[in-house]
Subunit: 457 residues, 2 copies
């Protein structure tokens, strides 16, 4: 058993509802992969905690990390991304959503190989861990390679192997087989089924996916109602909204993580409400503004029917970073704008979405997303001493509106120190960057022609 | 004469129109406060440059800064801020615009003293310089104290001493006298006249301000048409828009920097067009979203009539940072959203607003805002080697959508190295932070009652 103590740290407490608070002068006690107690500095874990799991006295700690002057926050969750797309960062700028897909991204993705995906995923894991992201929820090709990168880096991941209907039943079968294999590759890896979207996967394939998901206990992670235009197009073509497609194919019944959902309309809410216990939505607003999608995820409506909402970056080919601090700030700002209410999406609610909401999106609602005894020790120690954060009248506001990823000092995932003093402990960053630079040109090469798919939702 | 060379650096060239480009492998030659030549690395400045100003050979450089692996960008301009409000960072969160002004900010400002303003301004200058902001355009009280902080830090500043009509003619006279004195305090300080807004300064006082501005060569920096509501209220109360107020009082004729202008309507454009050569607008979109103002600056319309637009942070009591990288990213994103056009406000145009646009807003259009021989040597060396920027398919996109202020390595203002290896050379940051922390509580104390003004535009 390893026993680690983070000594004399401020702790961000994110309750299930209501205001977050910051407890100063705390010790976080971590045994193996779990938080076992949070006590006032220097106080032995409570008798209750000792009775539960035999927590040792602080003196017995095999490692003590000095948290003085730092704030411990639950590790952030990137609730929706395509991590290897970091390899295309900056290669598709200032384009309409149609051109972004059809002139750049889907033609580029004919260049995907297992090696290139792995190199991209390693870079993505490095970027996320250094920024305090301890879990990511991914949707991409060659997901086994992404799992290997996640395992090497020490990050936690839920991975959905992507498939389209257009590539035929064998490719779908292979993606589902990969989803079955992923959790066997090592710890901290879970998987979901990954049909691409309601507009690229047929109802028949969605139905079969839902059947497998229900039978084998998978959740389904997919794109749906990404834009209002997609919803209107679905109504025009099929007479139903994307949410109705998800219901009639059994996807909602199986349990779904819906990426974006900006085109979810008020009449969809009663449908979603029936599956509120197993439906989450990931919001990635930087992308909605950058692609001029016209609207953002209707979080207020979704929360009103009991859905959990997480925050994601989407892929870096459009978001340019995998920075969840940036994303959560964008959520706060764009939700206030959407609702025309500056009091809405306050700092506590924003932090809750990025942590507890993300945990739900990852299918890990009881395991991560809060700093509490019994949960996994996934956390980041953040330094608010920089001139862009000082003076600190409200640490929660500093975390939402001032902090930068470069303020993350130390990161733990499942009790393992994966970032120490702003350096990765698990990977050689120079090597990760050099590999990515070497291969970057191969991903954006459009000389071969073709595309993995055509965007015409 | 001092002669400094930045050796082997990539240079961001921001033309007056069209695409920005990055020239690799360049030497930037700096004599005293000016750029005298930009040459291929190792090449002696051109005969032309030598003939112009007697540039010495590189061997004679008194200092050589190695720019290998870095990109030199024109120092960013914060086109509208209230720098000492960093002291209130995080003290007025999740509030409507009315409550933000009337319950927090204007009651807090009864606590302003010269010392508190100076301590805040020192912190603000530190934050901005470390983030590559080399010029700021300020609007606040006790502007002489802000000038002293700017002088100490080495930053460039245009300062407008704020006044309301409600505080009487003597206070106005004092503010104008301060504006007259500021440039005498030292180099790199210019001043503007600072009536607060069209809704807090009477037409009569605006008219008198415009007369003085025209007579003495000042520009006028003020808030106008901050929101659509203000424009509607002006029409309801006065029968004219805020832009019409600015015209009829002579403010536009004198030359104005208009903060925000989100409520500028299409019929205002022909009015503004008559003064396009001397009118600039500063856009601070993080604030418009955070206060749920309902709209953002109509930059497309303003540019269509030839106005220059700069990017600002506004005060940190609402923007939380003075980070112009963050602001320029928000401009790109919110302008795409506003125009429902992902091709609009492309990376080159965004970078131009933050540099040349800001220079115009500061009244320094010919002196800063671009890396060109003959201009002031105000620049930042930025490191794009971090995992959040790599691989770099397009450095311009990295600067707009990936970079963080912490990627700024070295900063020069007027040829002086003010940040070296991410450390201020001009001030002791620990001392600056300690002073700010000591006094922060005095600024947010509401026990005295009263307010400097009431928001009822």
């Amino acid at each position: 058993m390893s026993y680690l103590v983070i000594r004399n740290v401020s702790v961000l407490i994110v309750p299930e509802s209501g205001d977050c608070r910051v407890d100063e002068g705390q010790d976080i006690h971590i045994e193996d992969d779990q938080i076992t107690a949070i006590t006032a500095t220097g106080v032995t874990p409570s008798a209750a905690a000792q009775a539960d799991d035999g927590a040792a006295a602080p003196e017995a700690a095999s490692e003590v990390i000095d948290g003085t002057g730092l704030i411990a926050v639950p590790g952030l969750v990137n609730s929706h991304t395509h991590s290897p797309m970091v390899m295309m960062r900056g290669a598709a700028e200032d384009l309409s959503i149609d051109d972004w897909f059809n002139q750049r991204i889907w033609p580029m993705e004919v260049n995907l190989t297992p090696e290139r995906v792995r190199v991209g995923a390693r870079l993505a894991c490095a970027e996320m861990l250094l920024a305090g992201v301890t879990t990511f929820v991914d949707h991409y090709f060659h997901a086994d390679q992404i799992a290997e990168a996640a395992l090497e880096s020490g990050i936690r991941a839920d991975l959905a192997p992507t498939f389209f209907s257009s590539t035929g039943p064998e490719a779908i079968e292979a993606a589902i087989a990969t989803a079955r294999d992923l959790p066997t590759l090592g710890p901290r890896i879970t998987s979901s089924l990954g049909p691409h979207a309601t507009y690229t996967v047929s109802d028949e394939d969605l139905r079969r996916t839902a059947d497998i998901a229900r039978a084998e206990g998978f959740r389904i992670h997919l794109h749906a109602a990404e834009t209002e235009d997609q919803t209107q197009s679905s109504l025009d073509r099929l007479g139903v909204t994307p949410m109705q497609v998800l219901e009639r194919t059994g996807v909602l019944d199986a349990g779904a993580l819906i990426a974006h959902g900006c085109g979810i309309r008020d009449p969809d809410l009663p449908i979603l409400e029936r599956y509120a216990d197993r439906t989450t939505v990931a919001s990635c607003p930087k992308v909605y503004l950058k692609l001029a999608m016209g609207t953002v995820t209707p979080i207020k409506g979704l929360q009103s029917i009991g859905l959990q909402v997480g925050i994601g970056t989407d892929g870096a080919a459009v978001h340019n970073t995998l920075d969840v601090w940036e994303s959560l700030r964008m959520v706060a700002l764009t939700q206030k704008q959407r609702e025309q209410d500056a009091e809405w999406m306050n700092v506590s609610d924003t932090l809750r979405l990025a942590t507890r909401g993300g945990a739900a999106a990852a299918g890990l609602a009881d395991q991560v997303g809060a700093l509490e005894p019994g949960r996994q020790a996934d956390l980041a120690l953040v330094d608010l001493s920089g001139p862009h954060c000082q003076p600190v009248h409200d640490a929660r506001a500093a975390l939402v509106y001032s902090v930068r990823s470069s303020d993350v000092v130390t990161v733990l995932v499942a009790g393992q120190v994966v970032v120490r003093d702003r350096q990765l402990t698990t990977m050689n960053l120079d090597e990760v960057l050099a590999d990515a630079k070497d291969l970057a040109h191969t991903l954006v090469d459009l000389s071969k022609g073709g595309a993995v798919q055509h965007y015409a939702p």
